[in-house]
Symmetry: C2
Subunit: 309 residues, 2 copies
């Protein structure tokens, strides 16, 4: 019998300008999955701990379970796995909780294989797990949770994962209000098309953002760091968003937007400015009667890893 535990971090999806393609890891939070090899094939969800939301225990309908099944299938395993899931990322927070579970399960079960799959194969299996929760294949949380740091993913069928250099001295402040926004709802309110002029504007912001990271150009980063397509549609789901964003920008943020589908708000700023920015965002939530918690996050944090147990 063999038992392996993996940790996978939370993540900020979209990063304002890269809807469904950009994200960065939030290593201060994460999910753990302990996988134990079983003689019987298939996957069993033995226990789910941590946060107390009810999650499906049918492995095919559970993000970790589905990712584990995909790994066993892709690795042609002649055995099965029993999973113990420990949720550290609040569900419905916009911090990539389902991705973290899927990645942790994929990484743990992959390590049970006699010949582990390569990282891109693991990514694809984790995507299948994430799809159970979100209803569609996307990678903006999966890729940073698996690889760490700031990550761009190009392509879905044959994903290419590119680590984007973190601008030096810059950190993220993440403020999570006690409020749940269902990802399906946050996706459902999006218009199915983008005005051509907004498409051009957002393209310029995205290209400027990527170039700014490579150039370590904070001036360009600030000029580019604005979501003109998704944020205007989703901010109505987040009480206090406009005030939070304005407060963050006034206190020196390079950009401030919604983490994933929300309601968590994040900002990038010089590390020294982050506490005041976090306080401004928290104050905007408090004015709406919402408690919140804050995390100061490095932009080059690690991705998923095996835990000594």
């Amino acid at each position: 019998m063999k038992t392996i535990t993996a940790f996978a971090p939370a993540s900020i999806g979209n990063l304002a300008v890269g809807f469904d393609i950009l994200g960065c890891a939030v290593p201060a939070l994460g999910d753990k999955v302990t996988a134990t090899r079983t003689e019987a094939p298939g996957v069993v969800i033995a226990a789910i701990g941590g946060l107390d939301l009810p999650l499906p225990t049918d492995p095919a309908r559970n993000t970790a379970g589905k990712a584990a099944l995909a790994i066993l299938d892709a690795g042609k395993a002649d055995f099965g796995a029993s999973l113990v899931i420990h949720k550290g990322v609040p569900l419905g927070s916009g911090l990539g909780g389902s991705a973290a579970s899927a990645v942790a399960a994929a990484v743990a079960v992959n390590a049970l294989l006699p010949r582990p799959l390569d990282p891109i194969a693991v990514l694809k299996c984790a995507m299948q797990g994430e799809a159970v929760a979100s209803g569609s294949l996307h990678v903006d949380n999966i890729a940073p949770s698996l690889f760490g740091g700031i990550v761009l993913t190009v392509g879905i069928d044959e994903p290419r994962v590119i680590s984007i250099p973190a601008p030096s001295g810059i950190a993220a402040i993440v403020v999570h209000p006690r409020l749940v926004v269902a990802t399906e709802k946050a996706r459902g309110i999006l218009k199915r098309s983008v005005d051509l002029s907004d498409f051009v504007w957002q393209s310029a912001n995205l290209a400027g953002f990527i170039a700014a990271c490579y150039r370590n150009d904070l001036d360009l980063l600030r000029a580019s760091f604005e979501d003109v397509v998704i944020e205007p549609q989703r901010q109505a789901l987040i009480p206090g968003f406009a005030k939070a964003r304005a407060g963050a920008m006034q206190r020196g943020a390079l950009g401030c937007s919604i983490s994933g589908a929300g309601p968590t708000i994040f900002a990038w700023a010089p590390a020294a400015a982050c506490p005041a920015i976090g306080a401004a965002i928290a104050a905007a939530f408090a004015a709406e009667g919402l408690d919140s918690t804050q995390l100061l996050v490095p932009l080059d944090g690690p991705g998923a890893y095996l835990v000594d147990t």
Copy 2:
């Protein structure tokens, strides 16, 4: 009396993935404008030579004239300018001919000022000239014609111009068929919105393209170098496009698309592969009864400059 001549190169606008925001200079072709200081304020178009299409001689309706007027106005000149325009870029070719005239005029007249404007101010004046021809402010031809190389522009009111590094060993092959596509028509056929899924796909391609240039990553460049938004709509205006593109890709192109509004087709490839790619594109045009001319173009060519006369 003072006379100054400036040359401004043609350019490939859009570069497949950067509609209205990306372009690169084509220094083998360009327009020249000779500006002579006049005591009378305002601008006079003294002569237009080179290619023999009729162009407006009212300075406010001529791209070079309007750019010159904008420079004189921004520079608070107490004199005027007489312009001689020599067109080297075929109009309606998709090679940024109106931008080249506007940039050459702006650069020449700027050099007449006792205190010349900074490059971004010159860019803005040239944009006003380009707007006379295209009906809207856009910079994907103006910026590379002025600055050279591969250029990204973020913002219209306060444009930021970013030089993107050229992948080493890669050149562009440009094939211009004897056919005119009016920019207004090529813009007019575009849908006013982009499907959300195409928006995400094109965003990934754009971000991948920019990252690939910084990483000098030809594999990523090939994977990203595809226009899924504009090219499918415009290719019907270009006889033989699909065959040309397929032939180019078979012969090792990293990407092949429409230059600006077309009908010129360009490809990026290792320099040694460019002649065969050019031949394949020319053959596709020939099969439609179209003669064409080819240019092999470095990706780090110079922008506009003053000419010794």
